[in-house]
């Protein structure tokens, strides 16, 4: 039976004054897969460990199901919270066999030894490791260890499953396979899951809900589509994948659909760009526009629909298509631009921007006026872009 998780006004301050979690409030409905996404030091691991009871909340409350596990003068230890966890380094006890590792969670729940063994074996079968049940963790590969950790977490059939960057130690190929396994197994058992990662592709691929954390705060919570299409801040936009940023001038009033016309400060072709209005976007004057890679389409330099012109500086073959880096004529660069055909380095190209992937925010860019800051991109195949709300 999946549990509902409710966190209210949670703060965690470490001795020494490091404020790791600031005023986090969220509710996760039973059976939901929530991914907390954020860079290193954003407080996501601390939040997860506080939910687990490994860390004690400074203020605020945590409720799992209908049990208040952390609150004013209340701190239930981890073993009384009825949850399970997959650790970053797996934390498999090296002196216990695979079966004993998995069965540990069951023995603590009062199952008989024989029953524990059988249930553990059944779970190992589900993750495809029943033949390795008598081995020790040191005799397994990284991927196998990861599956044992997952089996240990799932076998107890707890209502809440916590995952602390469980794929971060695996190579790219194995990570992708394990991601699929985790997604299907967790949904099969139906547990409420809190999963943390710093990889936006992993987050969007796994999540029902994505929460983005920065400096201890939960800065946005929503479906992957919503977070991608309407990032609440420039930080969220950047962290979830951009082709780049552009200094622009707002040149129209907001439309009823929440868009606005802007033009680059370096006045490229004079064709206004349609862009979505982000939080705190100014109604006039200069602003910063974030551009998703999927919002940029190639066209000819003489194409009347081209918003920007530039020169191709890098071409990367990505299997199904190419990704280009384009230096803009007015200065700056856009990365991760999709192209079906190879375009030679040094070629001049026109770029057309779509409103759905361009969001205007208040404030200036990281560099001088007109500078575009290139950032890592998100593969458009992995996400579904929705219309801004």
């Amino acid at each position: 039976m999946a549990d509902r998780l409710a966190i209210a006004e949670l703060h965690k301050v470490y001795p020494g004054g490091v404020h790791a979690v600031r005023d986090v409030t969220l509710a996760v409905e039973p059976g939901t897969f929530l991914v907390l996404l954020g860079p290193s030091g954003s407080g996501k691991t601390t939040l997860l460990r506080t939910i687990a009871g490994i860390e004690r909340a400074t203020t605020g409350s945590i409720t799992i199901g209908d049990r208040l596990v952390a609150g004013e003068r209340i701190h239930r230890p981890p073993e009384q919270r009825d949850l399970s966890m997959v650790f970053q380094d797996y934390a498999l006890w090296p002196h216990l066999s695979v079966n004993d590792n998995v069965a540990f969670a069951l023995r603590r729940r009062g199952h008989s030894r024989a029953s524990c063994r059988q249930l553990a074996l059944t779970m190992l079968e589900r993750v495809g490791l029943d033949r390795l049940a008598e081995r020790y963790p040191g005799q397994l590969s990284g991927g196998e260890q990861q599956r044992v950790a997952l089996a240990r977490a799932l076998v107890g059939d707890t209502g809440l499953l916590l995952c602390d960057e469980p794929l971060s130690n695996l190579d790219a190929d194995l990570r992708e396979r394990m991601r699929v396994e985790i997604a299907s197994l967790v949904r099969e058992v139906g547990a409420t899951t809190i999963y943390i990662t710093h990889d936006q592709q992993e987050a969007f691929a796994l999540a029902d809900q994505v929460g983005v954390m920065s400096k201890g705060e939960l800065v946005q919570l929503g479906s992957p589509e919503t977070v991608y299409a309407t990032p609440s801040t420039r930080f969220v936009a950047r962290f979830t994948g951009l082709a780049g940023e552009l200094r622009v001038r707002v040149c129209s009033s907001p439309s009823p659909r929440g868009t606005v016309n802007v033009e680059p400060v370096f006045a490229e072709n004079g064709i206004p760009i349609h862009a979505c209005i982000g939080r705190d976007a100014p109604s006039t004057g200069e602003a910063t526009m974030t551009i998703r890679p999927g919002a940029v389409a190639l066209c000819g330099t003489e194409d009347p629909a081209a918003h920007l012109n530039g020169t191709v500086t890098d071409v990367a073959f990505r299997g199904r298509a190419y990704e280009l880096a384009v230096d803009l004529r007015g200065g700056g660069r856009l990365n991760g631009i999709h192209s079906e055909r190879r375009v030679d380095r040094g070629s001049s190209v026109g770029l057309q921007l779509e409103a759905t992937g361009c969001v205007v925010f208040d404030g200036v860019g990281d560099g001088d006026a007109g500078e575009v800051v290139g950032l890592p991109s998100v593969d458009m195949d992995d996400v579904v872009v929705g219309m801004p709300a």
Partner: protein, 610 residues
């Protein structure tokens, strides 16, 4: 080794390099040595040199380590082989070791060593846990303190304690009358305490290493999956079993083979231990080599058994808990009373291990009338610095220490390079030989030397080094080489061959490539190994006691002689001066390395350590 190593990397450029000057205007790299040396070496093919060097290397190693010990051990069962008795094969010597005073000494050694190992673990484990897992005050200094305890020879603290508590000791002189302390320390309890205090650093180091690889997440995982705090500890504790077994086995082996406490506090307390019994069998006239060899067998067995048991119990259970990922250290915040209790406990250990012996030694050295009165004076120090025959042993041991450390480090680097580079049958044997030698009690080593180099065959071969300084130095080198090589082999194994290859690819000759590409990386471990050997030899007792040349006693023997002749004050002053000199040499060498070594060397040394 170096010549052997060079054999496979000779290239025509080696010879061509120095033969013709580079054309004018193109200076080019000049990595070569002086032309005259090159001229002399011209025509000598390095593979040929290697072919000669390899057997010589094995011969030297056999004469140094294998032959003396094996001869001595065979003597116990075949005295006729060495003209020491009528039987070709007999077990009577071994049987004899289980009767009378020898049996008592053996029994004492075994139970005292068990107790000392247990004591070492009981004290070392909590200190390791407190300093690595809690906010213990002064935890940064614990490791340094432990190394200090480890580096001091066991006889020094024993003498300090003894001088403090004995019937006419310092305590008595200053008016503290506590006969129960005297009785407790000068007896089995004191022996266990002294040996146990010496085991603490071994336990501490083993458990600290174990805890370092044991991330907090193992405990967290247990708690999250339903274990209570105690249940989690119970689950995680077996992961530390390898460390615990190692601590117990090393503690036992160190205690049972110890000679320093046996020859000082235990002997003066009339508490007989096996190592001293062995020494007496050789030191008495006429010496009873077969009986001593029988005790050596039993000592070797009693060291080997726990080490073998440890290896057997851990077979297949060397838990791989180390990963490349740096784990965050989670320290438990100690409450104020907890902090005081923990710091007090750790402080008490250092007080017992270092403080009280130091007070005993220094106060003993400041008492006048050769320690027979309560008057404070510097007369003993004046006697050490200016008195006849008192400064000589210090100078002698200083020279022996420097010489031995230098030779040993050179040999150690060669052996370590051999062990790290190739895994052939011979290097596997060499590895085993070194490991076995590390476990061999020094007193057995020394006895083997006395016996073997006193054999007529060595005289017939023209090797007349019995009762000479040469034999003592060779003994020192042989005893230090295994530990030294084991210390250096870790660094050598981490060296990427490409370091040397890169230097060679860019034009350096083999030796130049080693000096430029390898030496900087291993320079710091070499300096540390040198200091470790110097410290050990400067204050070494068992080998010195058995092998010193008549009329030229080394420092430790001179101190024992002074104490034996009731010159307590001078003996203790000599010990204090010796420790000060040892620290001064360590400071000078480390300072010189810091000042003289190129900055890159120091950085590389740090990288190699880390």
């Amino acid at each position: 080794m170096t010549l052997a190593g060079l054999g496979s990397v000779t290239s025509p450029t080696d010879v061509a390099e120095g033969e013709t000057a580079p054309p004018s205007g193109s200076p080019g790299p000049n990595f070569g040595g002086s032309p005259s040396l090159r001229d002399r070496l011209r025509g000598v093919r390095l593979p040929q040199l290697a072919q000669v060097a390899r057997p010589v290397f094995w011969l030297v190693l056999s004469l140094l380590i294998l032959v003396p010990c094996v001869c001595f051990l065979i003597l116990a069962v075949s005295p006729r082989l060495f003209d020491q008795g009528p039987q070709w094969f007999t077990l009577s010597n071994l049987r004899g070791a289980f009767t009378g005073a020898t049996a008592v000494a053996l029994t004492n050694s075994i139970w005292v060593s068990c107790a000392a190992a247990g004591f070492g673990l009981a004290v070392g484990f909590p200190i390791a846990w407190l300093s690595s897992r809690t906010t213990l005050m002064g935890r940064r200094f614990v490791m340094g303190g432990m190394w200090l305890v480890l580096l001091l020879p066991s006889w020094l603290p024993a003498l300090g304690w003894e001088r403090l508590v004995e019937t006419d000791g310092v305590m008595n002189r200053v008016g503290i009358n506590a006969p129960f302390i005297t009785h407790a320390i000068l007896g089995p309890f004191g022996v266990v305490l002294l040996l146990g205090l010496r085991c603490v650093p071994f336990s501490y180091l083993a458990v600290t290493l174990g805890l370092g690889g044991l991330g907090q997440e193992f405990e967290d995982a247990a708690r999250v999956h339903g274990a209570s705090r105690f249940g989690a500890l119970r689950l995680v504790a077996p992961i530390l079993l390898p460390a615990i077994w190692s601590a117990l086995a090393i503690g036992f082996a160190e205690s049972v083979s110890d000679f320093g406490v046996a020859a000082t506090l235990a002997y003066n307390s009339h508490f007989s231990l096996a190592t001293y019994q062995l020494y007496e069998n050789i030191d008495n006239f006429p010496p009873n080599f077969p009986a001593a060899a029988a005790i050596a067998w039993l000592l070797v067995l009693s060291v080997a058994v726990p080490l073998a048991l440890q290896a057997r119990s851990l077979r297949g259970r060397a838990y791989a808990v180390l990963s490349g990922r740096t784990r965050q250290i989670v320290r438990r915040q100690l409450s104020r009373p907890g902090q005081w209790a923990a710091s007090g406990g750790v402080g008490l250990f250092f007080l017992f291990a270092l403080g009280i012996p130091a007070v005993g030694a220094v106060s003993g050295s400041l008492l006048a009338d050769y320690g027979a009165s309560g008057r404070i004076t510097l007369v003993n120090y004046r006697a050490v610095l200016h008195g006849a025959g008192q400064w000589g042993p210090i100078q002698r041991s200083l020279v022996y220490g420097v010489l031995t450390a230098t030779v040993t480090v050179i040999g150690g680097v060669m052996v370590a390079q051999l062990l790290a580079k190739r895994r052939t049958r011979s290097t596997r044997f060499l590895d085993f030989l070194l490991l076995a030698s590390v476990a061999l009690p020094s007193v057995v080593f020394a006895a083997g030397y006395i016996f073997a180099y006193n054999l007529p065959i060595f005289s017939r071969l023209g090797i007349d080094i019995y009762q000479t300084v040469t034999l003592l130095i060779i003994g020192y080198v042989a005893a230090s080489l295994p530990t030294n090589a084991r210390v250096l082999v870790g660094t050598m194994a981490q060296l990427d061959p490409s370091l040397q290859d890169a230097a060679r690819a860019h034009g350096a000759g083999p030796m130049r490539a080693w000096v430029k590409g390898v030496l900087p990386v291993i320079s710091r471990p070499i300096v540390m190994a040198w200091l470790l050997t110097f410290g050990a030899i400067f204050l070494e007792l068992p080998m010195s006691q058995l092998l010193y040349a008549p009329g030229s006693p080394p420092l430790s023997v001179a101190i024992q002689d002074n104490l034996g002749n009731y010159h307590f004050g001078v003996g203790m002053a000599q010990a204090v001066v010796a420790v000060v000199i040892a620290f001064a040499v360590i400071g000078i060498v480390l300072g010189a390395y810091r000042v003289l070594a190129p900055a890159g060397w120091r950085r590389m040394g740090v990288a190699a350590r880390g």
